[in-house]
C-alpha cells in the first residue's frame, strides 16, 4: 500500500491517466483554460512506432487550440484524396471535400510521436499548469464522495496515492482505470486481421491513400499504403484466413510480402523495416464516458476500426468536447451536470463513427462470405461501370453533428431563422481580420463566440468582450461582427469571399452563438442579446453572471 495523501494537501483539480496524444492534448487545453492538471504516463517517453498517422482537418483545428498546429503542419504531409486498384486496374480515384481557401488540408499524415511531442511542448505556453510524469502507471482507482484517489507506481516501484477532484482516463485500449472501475467495452469484433508495417524508403510518389485489392504482389490480400514524413511508408495488409496472427508479424513472414509489393509498384530504392504490428477491427464502447468523478476519453472509452481514420481523430474530438466543460466545472462556474453532456454527445459520436467505420470494415475486411462475394462483384463491375465506385470509397472521418445544442439544457435559443441548427459544427470561412488571423475557426477554442452577421449593426459594449470568471478563460463571450465589406477592427472581420455568409446561411442581422468547441449553440435571425445572456446563463451558474447585462444599441 502506498503513502496516503497528506492531510491538508491540496487536491489536484484534474489527474489525467495516460500521456498519449489524447491525454497530453487534454492537459494542454486545460492549461490554456487556466486549469491545473497532472498527466501520468506508463511509458518512459513518447510512443514507439508511428501508430495513428492520419490527422483530420477537425483534429488540426483542435490541435490549433492546443497550440500545436504550426509544427504539425510544418512537418506533416497534407493530402486530399486517394486511389484504389483491383489487381492492376484503378477502380476509384476519390478526393475529400476541400477548397483552396481552407485553413487546413482535409488530412495530414504524421507519426504519432511527433504529435505527442508538439502537444507536450505546447503545454509550456502556460507554465506551471500541466505536469507530465513518465514511467508512472495507475495501479488502483478509488472513487470517493467528493474526490478520486489513485495509487500510482513509478519506475522504481515506489507507490504513492494522489487525490484529484476529477480523473480523466486517457490510458488507451487496455485502460487500467477502466479495469479498476470494473467497466468493460461492449460491441463487436471482426475476424479479419491486418498487419501494419512501417518502412523507411525514399520515394517521390504523391501523398495519397493507396489501396490494392487482390494485387498480383499478394494475391487475395488487400494492401494499403500511406506516406509519412522522413521517407516512411505505412503499409497495411490483410492476412490470409486461418493464418496465425502471431506468426504473421514475424519479419520473415512480413518482409517478403512488402518487397513483392514494392517491386510491383516500382519503388526500387533500398528500404528497411521500422515497426511491425497487427490489429483486428473492433467496434467497442463504454455505455457512458462519465462515471461519477471519473471520465473516459479516446481509446479508453471507445475503439473503432481504423478504416476511415476515426481512432485518434475521435479521441481529439473527445478532448475538444470535454476540456471546456471540465474547465467550467472545476472553476465552479457550471454545475457538474455539464459533464453528463460530454458523455451523451461523445457516445452519440461513437455510434456514428462506428456506423461509418463498420461499413468501411465490411468492405476492407469482409466479415463473411456474403460481403466477400459482394466485394468481388463490386471490384469487377467498377472496372466497367463507374456508378458502383462509391462503394469502394473509404468514407474518411468527418466531423459529427450533435442532435441538439447541449442535452438537458433548456434554451429559449434559436428562432429557426438561420440555416444551421444547434448542434451542428460551425463552418470554416476565409476572412480578413485586424490581426494575424485568417479564418473564422481561429476565433473558436477559447470561450463562447457570438457571430453577428451585419454590415452596419452595432454590438453592445458588454458583448464585445465579456469575461464571466476572473480565473479562467472559457467563461467568456467574444462577439465578432462578420461584415461583407468595409474595414476590419478588433471586433469586425470582413467576409471578403462571401464564404461565411453563404455557409452560415446568413441574412443581415443573423446572430449565431458558438460553443468553445466550435459547435452552434443557438442562432437567431435578428440579434437578441438578452437571449444570448439567457443561453449562457443556462450553462453557467447564475452567480457566475454578475456582470452580464447586455443591452442593445449601447456600443461600438
Amino acid at each position: 500500500m502506498g503513502e496516503g495523501p497528506q492531510a491538508g494537501a491540496p487536491r489536484l483539480p484534474v489527474l489525467i491517466v495516460g500521456g498519449g496524444p489524447v491525454g497530453l492534448s487534454l492537459g494542454a487545453l486545460l492549461a490554456r483554460y487556466g486549469i491545473a492538471s497532472r498527466v501520468i504516463e506508463a511509458d518512459a517517453a513518447y510512443c514507439q512506432g508511428s501508430r495513428a498517422i492520419c490527422i483530420s482537418r477537425r483534429s488540426q483545428e483542435i490541435l490549433g487550440w492546443v497550440g500545436a498546429d504550426r509544427p504539425l503542419n510544418a512537418k506533416g504531409l497534407p493530402w486530399t484524396g486517394g486511389r484504389s486498384y483491383f489487381r492492376n486496374q484503378e477502380v476509384l480515384h476519390f478526393t475529400m471535400p476541400t477548397e483552396p481557401t481552407e485553413r487546413f488540408a482535409p488530412m495530414v499524415n504524421i507519426q504519432q510521436y511527433f504529435v505527442e511531442e508538439y502537444v507536450h511542448r505546447a503545454q509550456d505556453r502556460h507554465p506551471g499548469l500541466c505536469t507530465v510524469t513518465w514511467s508512472t502507471r495507475a495501479v488502483a482507482t478509488r472513487p470517493m464522495a467528493d474526490s478520486v484517489e489513485v495509487d500510482i507506481e513509478g519506475a522504481d516501484g515506489r507507490r504513492e496515492t494522489l487525490s484529484a477532484q476529477w480523473v480523466v482516463a486517457c490510458d488507451g485500449a487496455r485502460s487500467a482505470v477502466r479495469d479498476h472501475l470494473g467497466l468493460s467495452l461492449e460491441g463487436t469484433q471482426y475476424d479479419g486481421r491486418y498487419v501494419i508495417v512501417d518502412i523507411e524508403q525514399e520515394s517521390s510518389r504523391p501523398v495519397e491513400r493507396l489501396a490494392w485489392f487482390d494485387p498480383p504482389s499478394n494475391p487475395g490480400s488487400t494492401v494499403l499504403m500511406h506516406r509519412q514524413p522522413d521517407n516512411v511508408w505505412r503499409v497495411d495488409y490483410q492476412i490470409r484466413d486461418g493464418e496465425d496472427p502471431v506468426e504473421a508479424v514475424r519479419p520473415d513472414q512480413v518482409l517478403p510480402r512488402v518487397q513483392s509489393h514494392l517491386d510491383m509498384i516500382g519503388e526500387t530504392a533500398p528500404w528497411k523495416p521500422l515497426w511491425i504490428s497487427a490489429y483486428g477491427a473492433k467496434c467497442l464502447s463504454l455505455r457512458s464516458y462519465r462515471h461519477g468523478r471519473v471520465l473516459f476519453a479516446g481509446d479508453a472509452a471507445h475503439l473503432v476500426p481504423i478504416f476511415g481514420v476515426r481512432g485518434l481523430n475521435s479521441g481529439l474530438d473527445d478532448v475538444g468536447n470535454l476540456a471546456w466543460k471540465l474547465a467550467l466545472v472545476v472553476d465552479g462556474a457550471s454545475s457538474d451536470d455539464l459533464l453528463d453532456t460530454y458523455s451523451s454527445e461523445r457516445v452519440h459520436a461513437t455510434r456514428e463513427n462506428i456506423a461509418y467505420a463498420a461499413k468501411s470494415t465490411e468492405f476492407m475486411a469482409p466479415p463473411n462470405f456474403a460481403f466477400e462475394l459482394m466485394r468481388q462483384a463490386t471490384l469487377r463491375l467498377a472496372c466497367v461501370d463507374p456508378r458502383v465506385q462509391s462503394l469502394i470509397n473509404p468514407r474518411q472521418s468527418s466531423q459529427i453533428s450533435y442532435p441538439v445544442a447541449l442535452p438537458g439544457v433548456g434554451f429559449p435559443g434559436s428562432d429557426g431563422g438561420a440555416a444551421l441548427r444547434p448542434g451542428e459544427p460551425a463552418p470554416e470561412a476565409r476572412v480578413r481580420t485586424a490581426d494575424d488571423r485568417t479564418h473564422l475557426t481561429q476565433y473558436f477554442g477559447g470561450g463562447f463566440t457570438a457571430l453577428y452577421f451585419s454590415d452596419t449593426g452595432s454590438i453592445p459594449v458588454a458583448a464585445t468582450q465579456l469575461t464571466l470568471s476572473s480565473r479562467q478563460t472559457v467563461a467568456s463571450l467574444t462577439t465578432v461582427r462578420v461584415a461583407r465589406n468595409g474595414g476590419t477592427d478588433a471586433a469586425t472581420v470582413v467576409d471578403f469571399m462571401g464564404e461565411a455568409w453563404h455557409r452560415y446561411g446568413a441574412r443581415d442581422g443573423t446572430l449565431y452563438l458558438v460553443r468553445p468547441d466550435g459547435y452552434v449553440l443557438a442562432c437567431w435571425s435578428q440579434p437578441d442579446w438578452q437571449a444570448v445572456a439567457v443561453v449562457l446563463g443556462g450553462i453557467l451558474k447564475r452567480q457566475a453572471l454578475p456582470n452580464l447585462r447586455l443591452q442593445e444599441g449601447s456600443g461600438s
Binding site: E362, L373, R380
Partner: protein, 59 residues
Amino acid sequence: MTDQDLDRCYTALSDALAAVGEEKASLLLATLSLSLIVKESDAKIVLDLIAQAGELART
C-alpha cells in the same frame, strides 16, 4: 440512385445473402436478378448486362 441508397442496398443484399447461407446464396441472387429483369422493358439491355456479368465472372 444516390451513393447513400446504393450503399444501403449493397449492405441489405449482403445481409440477405449471409442470412440464407452460402448454399442458397446463388438462388437468392438468381431470384433477385429475375425480379430486376422483369422491371426492365428493353431485353437488349438485360442481355448485354448478362453477357457483361458473364465476362467479369471469368476474371
